[in-house]
């Protein structure tokens, strides 16, 4: 919205500041001036405004001027347009409000013998040509420009009809099914029975508070005019406007609440501009009112305001005196609440024993101006006091604080997962929350539970992601398509499953890697990332949690247990304490081909809701033994189907306190072994905390190890 300072100063000739200062003062009081443009000699400035939606009353010149009066303690002269005496008429123009829930007031004024023509500066207070020129507002004709002038000047939407096109009189009513009207934009509209319309006795004329009709519009031939200024209900206008996909200046204002009392003044302004070019008024202003709506707009019940409450909410000011009764009265009066009325109401309040007499306990009954429908409650008035007093005149204090900080239960776990992967050389990324239905079907851990959106951003983002894999794959592909060939990423995010009635959200981790690992000094050349690099990262992550067992298993492709997005032979399931905690491996070649990815992509997902059930691993220090450790190696022969995990678990299952460490030291295959066998060198270290181990003890331990690994299918190599 644009505001001319020249126009403001016409309302307030005594403004004590220059345009730049005025802009700053308004901005600090919530009437934000975003830009100030000098219009040159004598023309003042143009303000580009950004006014919040609750302040429609200030989205016009008179409204901004009113704010300025509150800041500088000025008085705003009332708008008053003297109209010539009307010629009497036997039968006043007929106006009937049928939709009494939606139209609170409808004023109609009949002007006859007018001349439609170009606009000029008609009289003081109606400098249409000058102001429109500075605003670069298109001038159309005196009739249209008059309504625009009332809109820009005082924020009241009005409408002018060609009176001779109106049959009988005006009826404000809901549309009937199947009725049609052609609006001013030339669109033929089929009306809905909920639409609020202006009709005559024969037909609809326009959409009330939204847009006038084509057939009754002003033309150069128009001689007789009906000026409409009305008050329409916000919800009714909003519904009508939305249904027809229209957003007009008028609907914008009515949707946010217009000034019930402005209709008469706006009608006078529009009429006087038209009459300046000839013509006369026929009959008195027809003013149809709905008392119930008048009672909840122009004549609302006063609001009780306590000074103690103002202070309780706003707190400490920099100025030692703080907010006084005089501050409150000054601000509210300037904003249109009216000092005389306040004083009177305060007297009444005293008699009703509402007001406590002690200083600082003042209580007011505040009546709200008709243009401020946003002032409904005590807190609304407190805001006005704070706003005009100046937010930056309040001190910076801190609330008392009595408790310690409580972090989220899983915050430490999440942070540990993040740290581990960052340390492993992965970058953290954030992928889309959405994916396509096809991706969801392919990648969801539980198929068929993807939740669709009603108004998706695109088809590719049609459902809530049931897995982070789709987003990870998209980010990896994005890098490769930009010729970034070495990628290691992870994402910590939410995955969704369920129905459109109930959506389940769980935390998950995805990771992906492709390309080469960078060289590490002279001894370790760069090499391609492989399956075991990713497995190592997963082991590190899972290893942060306190679990009894971690194992990786795989299934024969024919079993159909491996997720379809993973390579049937290069995939592993992560099992922690018997729970499936995730999957990883190489991307299925078919999926890779569909995405034109030539490089093998390694990726996977961990179900963090399951991992987060486990506490983080907490190291407990143990005494370092002073006694000699003893190492024993076991040369084992195993069937290829027996993985290290089985051996590891068998050894762990012995629970020998003196067996302090064991690991696979070597794996090899040679011709001396049977078909489908391999050899494993298991190294074990024994050490007691309180003694040197004796040979017979060691032999017993060794025998137990051999027995345990034998049970899972290992034999000692002879």
């Amino acid at each position: 919205m644009k505001i001319l300072t020249k126009w403001l100063r016409a309302y307030l000739p005594d403004l004590p500041v220059d345009d730049a200062q005025l802009a700053e003062d308004l901005t600090l009081r919530g009437i934000a001036v975003e830009g100030v443009y000098d219009l040159g000699d004598g023309s003042g400035s143009l303000y580009e405004m950004d006014i919040t939606t609750n302040r429609v009353d200030a989205m016009n010149h008179y409204g901004v001027a009113r704010e300025a009066t509150a800041i500088y303690g000025l008085t705003l002269p009332p708008l008053d347009f003297k109209l010539p005496q009307p010629k009497p008429v036997a039968k006043p123009f007929s106006v009937r409000i049928e939709a009494e829930d939606a139209c609170g007031r409808f004023t109609a004024r009949v002007l006859r013998g007018v001349t439609i023509g170009p606009s000029r500066d008609w009289f003081a207070g109606a400098e249409v040509a000058t102001y429109f020129g500075l605003l670069e507002q298109k001038q159309i004709s005196n009739a249209v420009d008059a309504t625009n002038f009332a809109w820009i000047g005082m924020g009241q939407p009005t409408h002018v009809f060609d009176l001779d096109k109106i049959e009988g009189g005006i009826i404000v009513r809901r549309a009937r099914k199947g009725e049609r009207v052609k609006t001013l934009d030339g669109v033929e509209r089929v009306l809905d029975p909920e639409d609020l319309i202006i009709a005559d006795h024969a037909k609809p004329l326009g959409l009330a508070g939204v847009m006038g009709g084509w057939d009754s519009m002003i033309t150069p031939e128009t001689k007789n005019v009906l000026v409409e200024a009305a008050w329409f209900d916000p919800v009714a206008v909003r519904r009508t406007a939305r249904r027809h996909g229209l957003h007009t200046d008028a609907s914008h204002r009515f949707e946010r609440g217009a000034d019930y009392n402005a209709a008469e003044v706006a009608s006078a302004l529009v009429s006087s501009i038209l009459l300046a070019n000839g013509g006369w008024i026929e009959g008195d202003l027809v003013d149809a009112r709905v008392p119930a709506i008048e009672a909840r707009t122009a004549n609302r019940k006063p609001v009780e305001l306590k000074l103690s409450e103002v202070r309780r909410i706003l707190g400490t000011t920099i100025d030692a005196e703080g907010i006084t009764a005089a501050t409150v009265e000054g601000v509210l009066t300037a904003l249109g609440c009216g000092l005389a009325e306040l004083a009177k109401k305060a007297e009444l309040a005293k008699k009703a024993e509402l007001a406590e007499l002690a200083k600082g306990n003042e209580v007011w009954l505040v009546s709200q101006p008709s243009w401020r429908l946003d002032l409904e409650r005590e807190i609304d008035l407190i805001e006005e006091v704070a706003r005009v007093y100046g937010y930056n005149r309040f001190a910076n204090t801190l609330p008392a604080f009595g408790e310690g900080v409580r972090a989220l239960l899983w915050a430490a776990q999440e942070s540990e997962v993040r740290r581990t992967l960052l340390a492993a050389g992965f970058h953290e990324a954030i992928g889309s929350t959405f994916c396509s239905a096809a991706e969801a079907a392919l990648m969801a851990p539980q198929p068929g539970l993807a939740v669709p959106l009603g108004n998706p951003l695109s088809e590719e983002a049609g459902v809530l992601r049931p897995s982070l894999v789709a987003g990870m794959l998209a980010m990896i592909a994005g890098n490769l398509h930009r010729d970034v060939s070495d990628v290691r990423l992870f994402e910590l995010g939410t995955v969704f499953s369920g129905t459109t009635e109930k959506v389940d959200e769980r935390p998950a981790l995805s990771f992906g890697a492709v390309g080469t690992l960078p060289e590490q000094g002279a001894l370790h050349a760069a090499r391609a990332i492989e399956f075991h690099d990713v497995k190592g990262a997963v082991e590190q992550v899972v290893g942060r949690f306190q679990s009894r067992t971690v194992l990786f298993d795989r299934f024969l492709a024919e079993a159909g247990l491996t997720p379809e997005w993973l390579h049937p032979y290069r995939a592993a399931r992560v099992v922690v304490d018997g729970m499936t905690a995730g999957w990883f491996g190489q991307l299925h070649p078919r999926v890779a081909a569909e995405r034109k990815l030539k490089e093998p992509v390694l990726l996977g997902e961990l179900y963090l809701d399951r991992l987060y059930k486990l506490p983080l691993r907490q190291p407990i220090a143990r005494e370092i033994s002073r006694f000699q450790p003893v190492r024993r190696d076991f040369s084992l022969v195993l069937d290829e189907s027996i993985a290290w995990e089985k051996i590891d678990q068998a050894v762990a299952g012995l629970r020998i306190p003196e067996l302090v460490e064991w690991r696979a030291r070597e794996v090899f295959r040679d011709a001396k072994l049977g078909a489908g066998e391999y050899a494993l060198l298991l190294g074990a270290t024994f050490q007691a905390a309180d003694r040197t181990l004796r040979e017979e003890e060691l032999q017993e331990f060794q025998a137990r190890v051999v027995e345990a690994v034998g049970k899972v299918g290992a034999r000692l190599r002879s």
């Binding site: 309780r312 706003r387 939740v451 669709p452 939410t494 959506v503």
Partner: protein, 226 residues
């Protein structure tokens, strides 16, 4: 710290935050909705939360005052993507409710927080704004972290950068909370809330020109923040 679901009900995202059904204030937050909600009662309809504020209500419903929480989280809007708009972004929200919490406490807390974030030389200033769930509402500017307030290209020569929105919790919001926790009586307690866009702050602090960079997973971008 507080968190809440990314898929919210209309009640928590809008109604209990004092955005009544059919109110123009809802227009300011274009919403992505879950399919098939038309036949459900308005308050139960599921949508992608447009702000982290619903967690305020969930927290108040689950415990009596005092409350002092910080709420980080991902939010979604049905916005066309451009250099500064993304349908996905993050907010950090704060809520403080107790007896005798004042507007000057809000000012002091945010002044302290901005100094902690941007250095002790940073100044703050507050000016009136409008949010349905706070009253009085304020926008907060900090003195330009690039030029120290002298005026430069980054602050459009104003010396100030707008950073966050805040205000005193609207009594209407307490009234919704009081449906489950009657101790949220706006005559006895008061509170403040604030919220800011995480990407916006990061973009400013690290000179990032495209918000989309946060969601592309581009190694060349991410590698700069190691």
């Amino acid at each position: 710290m507080g968190v809440g679901p990314e898929v919210e009900t209309d009640y928590y995202n809008f109604e209990s935050m004092n955005f009544p059904p059919g109110h123009p204030a809802r227009d300011t937050q274009d919403t992505l909705v879950v399919a098939g909600q038309e036949r459900r009662p308005q308050r139960d309809r599921l949508l992608m939360r447009t702000h982290t504020s619903p967690v305020q209500m969930r927290t108040m419903e689950s415990q009596p005052p005092p409350v002092r929480i910080v709420i980080p989280g991902k939010v979604h809007r049905n916005d066309a993507a451009d250099a500064t708009h993304s349908p996905i972004f993050h907010q950090v929200e704060g809520l403080c409710v107790d007896t005798n919490i004042t507007f000057s406490d809000l000012k002091g807390t945010l002044d302290h927080a901005m100094k902690a974030l941007f250095g002790s030389a940073v100044k703050t200033r507050f000016f009136p704004s409008f949010f349905p769930f706070t009253e009085p509402s304020a926008d907060v500017q900090i003195s330009c972290i690039f030029c120290g307030g002298k005026g430069c290209r980054k602050c459009k020569n104003s010396g100030w950068i707008e950073l966050l929105g805040c205000g005193m919790v609207d009594p209407a919001v307490f009234a919704f909370a009081a449906e489950k926790q009657p101790t949220y009586d706006p005559k006895k307690i008061s509170g403040f809330a604030f919220g800011m866009g995480v990407e916006r702050i990061a973009m400013m602090k690290y000179g990032i020109s495209e918000i989309g960079s946060f969601f592309a997973g581009d190694m060349r971008f991410l590698g700069q923040f190691v």
